[in-house]
């Protein structure tokens, strides 16, 4: 089972779906960010799985994953700073309270 590519791909898809659900459903901006991290991880798993089973050079997938992590870190930093800015301005981090722009 764990030698089967499809297991990992499905796992990643499931993780992605869970993350997506979080993004779509959660009200706290921080929870949304957490969900985004899950989705990024799902993508990492995908890359790693392909790397493990299909790819000629195994280093490539690892490096990609590594970079995704770094990007995720940067993204988290930026997102958190913006979330804090939101909180300071709107006194809330509920995404449903961020509702000025429409139409």
């Amino acid at each position: 089972m764990y030698n089967n590519l499809q297991t990992f791909l499905l796992l990643a898809a499931l993780l992605f779906a869970i993350g997506l659900y979080g993004v779509l459903a959660r009200r706290s901006l921080i929870a949304v960010l957490i969900s985004v991290e899950l989705m990024l991880n799902a993508a990492s798993i995908n890359f790693m799985a392909f790397n493990r089973f299909l790819i000629p050079e195994p280093a490539v997938g690892q490096i990609i994953t590594l970079f995704i992590m770094a990007v995720a870190a940067a993204e988290a930093a930026i997102a958190l700073s913006i979330i804090i800015a939101v909180y300071r301005k709107l006194k809330s981090i509920n995404v449903e309270h961020v509702n000025e722009l429409r139409g």
């Binding site: 997506l20 779509l24 459903a25 995404v95 449903e96 509702n99 429409r102 139409g103």
Partner: protein, 642 residues
């Protein structure tokens, strides 16, 4: 083509045709404000054609082979319109008639229109008319004829509406133009059919082709009937005769020129012009005969009850035109055409005489004229009586011979009903014309009462028949420029009758050998005399009650006074169909349906924008969900579809 320009006959035709239009242009552009100069230009431009026309008539008296000259005017593909002249007896005679009458009218108008602010304009329009009518009479092709025909209509419109400040005048002009246009469209359709299915509109060739049966019969009948529509319009035949009586709103010389002698005769002339073609279709001839007859009777009856002198002559014109058409349709080319000729003389005379009275008394109502002493104007009174006698068909005046000719032609027909109708018409004609004459010549006591009543009514309406009453000229009597044309026309009225044989020789190429039908002669003269006698009993006799015999049947009299309700019919037709139904409905449709549809598209575009903007919610996650769903949809399509 260069050859043509060295040909004197051609040049004469060209000058005859072109000079008046040049005069029109010159006057309209430059000398409109200067009466004297305008008059000079216009008179020059009508005298030269007069001389040339008589010269041509003289030169080509007895001509056998027609002369044709053509210039290239507009040559498209099928449609080829040359500008050309066709000289044959038919056209030469018409040319002379037109040139003469229009010259006379121009001379007469010097007096009649003197002092009018639009004097220059008047002469310009007369010149335009002269151009169109002269060119019409010598046109070599039917399309050229049609064009002149339209221009005649235009000139008529302008001249009728000459006193445009007057509502009735402008209305009458519009009516004349539109109603004749109605017929002209038929004319044009006929020409279109001929163009398309025959291809050549040279009058000569159309005629000979019809005679030689080179055209299919259906085409001849269709085209002839359609062209006859034009004739009905221009020659004021039932049921579109209604414009002509109204056209009397124009100055009287105009009535004399256009609406009695020349323009309205154009229709009859057209039939004469393409007589071989016309007569190739028996159906068309029958229709023309019927319409001519109806017109004759209808308008004669109306003439019996009118009190406006110009109206009487107008209806008389209508009826005589019907009579001419009867003559032509009965198969006698000469009879119809000859009546046209004589009618031109005596009817122009009638109008010009009436014009003198109108000018003098400032009213159109002959009862008022009579009461004011019309008989004191000697020359006009004499000439008008001569003309009336001619109109009634009394020997030896011109009308007698021509009428006799037509009745003779009618007598040749199998169905005698046409003959009786013609005789009845002659009776009526004599009655109404002498009604006028007797009233004016021997005003009796009741006349003064009627006149008083009429003048009250006129004042109540606030209108004067003339609109330009020149009462101040009363002491001057009648100027000679007005008398001269009367005398000349009276001369023709007296003499034309004796030229019958010569004219017939000229026109038809063979001498008239009339076996004089005594019963016919007797009945014709008898009908005329009966009419005059009845008129004497009703109006002229010492103790006449001065009411028409018709008053015993008030319903009928009223029917005639209301002009057979034809005006009402057309007014109703216009209001109900043209304005009420089509115009209104189309306008509604335009605003609501067509434009509304366009606006609806625009509004729905904006509306859909408003609707779609609701998907751009302020909630991040709803937007994200939408986006994810679309992506998933695309994904599903790709995954499942393959």
């Amino acid at each position: 083509m260069a050859m043509q320009f060295s040909d004197t006959t051609f040049l004469a035709c060209l000058v005859t045709s072109i000079l008046p239009i040049l005069s029109f242009g010159l006057i309209m552009i430059f000398t409109r404000e200067n009466p004297k100069l305008s008059l000079a230009i216009s008179l020059t431009a009508s005298t030269i054609p007069l001389i040339l026309a008589w010269g041509l008539l003289y030169k080509y008296w007895g001509i056998q082979e027609p002369l044709v000259y053509n210039l290239r005017w507009l040559y498209s593909d099928i449609v080829k319109i040359p500008f050309g002249f066709l000289l044959d007896p038919t056209s030469l005679l018409m040319l002379t008639i037109v040139a003469t009458v229009s010259w006379l009218v121009q001379v007469y108008s010097i007096g009649y229109m003197g002092g009018d602010p639009g004097f220059g304009r008047f002469y310009a329009f007369l010149s335009l008319f002269a151009f169109s009518m002269l060119t019409l009479s010598i046109s070599s092709g039917l399309l050229q004829l049609y064009i002149c025909w339209e221009l005649v209509g235009l000139a008529s419109y302008l001249l009728i509406g000459f006193w445009y400040e007057k509502f009735s005048a402008s209305e009458a002009g519009k009516k004349a133009f539109v109603v004749t246009r109605f017929g002209d469209v038929g004319f044009f359709m006929g020409l279109a059919f001929l163009t398309i299915y025959y291809g050549n509109l040279e009058i000569q060739q159309v005629n000979s082709a019809a005679v030689a049966q080179a055209m299919p019969a259906w085409l001849i009948t269709t085209a002839a009937l359609l062209i006859f529509c034009g004739v009905m319009g221009k020659s004021a035949q039932f049921p579109i005769h209604v414009w002509l009586p109204d056209a009397m709103e124009g100055p009287t010389p105009v009535s004399a020129l256009l609406h009695s002698a020349t323009m309205v005769a154009a229709g009859v002339y057209l039939i004469a012009r393409i007589y071989p073609f016309f007569s190739a279709s028996p159906e068309a001839m029958t229709v023309a005969l019927a319409i001519g007859t109806i017109t004759l009777l209808l308008s004669s009856t109306i003439g019996m009850v009118a009190s406006d002198i110009k109206q009487v002559w107008a209806y008389s014109t209508v009826s005589q035109l019907g009579f001419m058409i009867m003559g032509l349709a009965a198969g006698s080319f000469f009879a119809g055409y000859y009546h046209l000729t004589t009618h031109a003389a005596f009817k122009a005379l009638l109008f010009l005489c009436s014009g003198v009275f109108i000018h003098h008394f400032g009213t159109n109502d002959f009862f008022i004229m009579a009461a004011n002493g019309a008989r004191k104007l000697k020359i006009p009174m004499v000439t008008i009586t001569i003309a009336a006698l001619a109109l009634a068909g009394i020997f030896p005046l011109a009308g007698f011979f021509s009428k006799e000719g037509i009745l003779g032609a009618l007598a040749h027909l199998d169905n005698k009903i046409w003959l009786f109708a013609g005789l009845f018409g002659a009776f009526l004609t004599a009655y109404y014309s002498f009604r006028v004459i007797f009233v004016m010549l021997f005003p009796r006591e009741p006349i003064f009462q009627i006149a008083a009543a009429h003048s009250h009514a006129e004042e109540a309406h606030g209108s004067h028949g003339h609109g330009h009453g020149h009462e101040h000229e009363e002491e001057h009597g009648v100027p000679w420029v007005m008398n001269l044309p009367l005398l000349i026309l009276a001369f023709f009225t007296l003499t034309l009758g004796f030229l019958q044989g010569a004219l017939e020789q000229f026109l038809t190429g063979h001498a008239g050998h009339h076996e004089i039908s005594i019963p016919l002669l007797v009945s014709a003269v008898g009908a005329a005399l009966a009419g005059i006698g009845l008129a004497w009993l009703d109006w002229g006799a010492k103790n006449a009650k001065c009411v028409g015999f018709l008053s015993r049947v008030p319903a009928l009299e009223n029917f005639f006074i209301q002009k057979w309700y034809m005006d009402h019919f057309w007014r109703w037709f216009l209001n109900t169909f043209i304005y009420g139904l089509f115009s209104k409905w189309f306008t509604y449709n335009d605003r609501r349906v067509v434009d509304g549809g366009v606006d609806a598209v625009a509004f729905s575009t904006v509306g859909s924008g408003r609707y779609l903007s609701r998907y751009q919610t302020a909630l991040l996650q709803v937007n994200l969900l939408f986006m994810v769903l679309v992506m998933a949809g695309v994904g599903l399509y790709l995954v499942m579809g393959r």
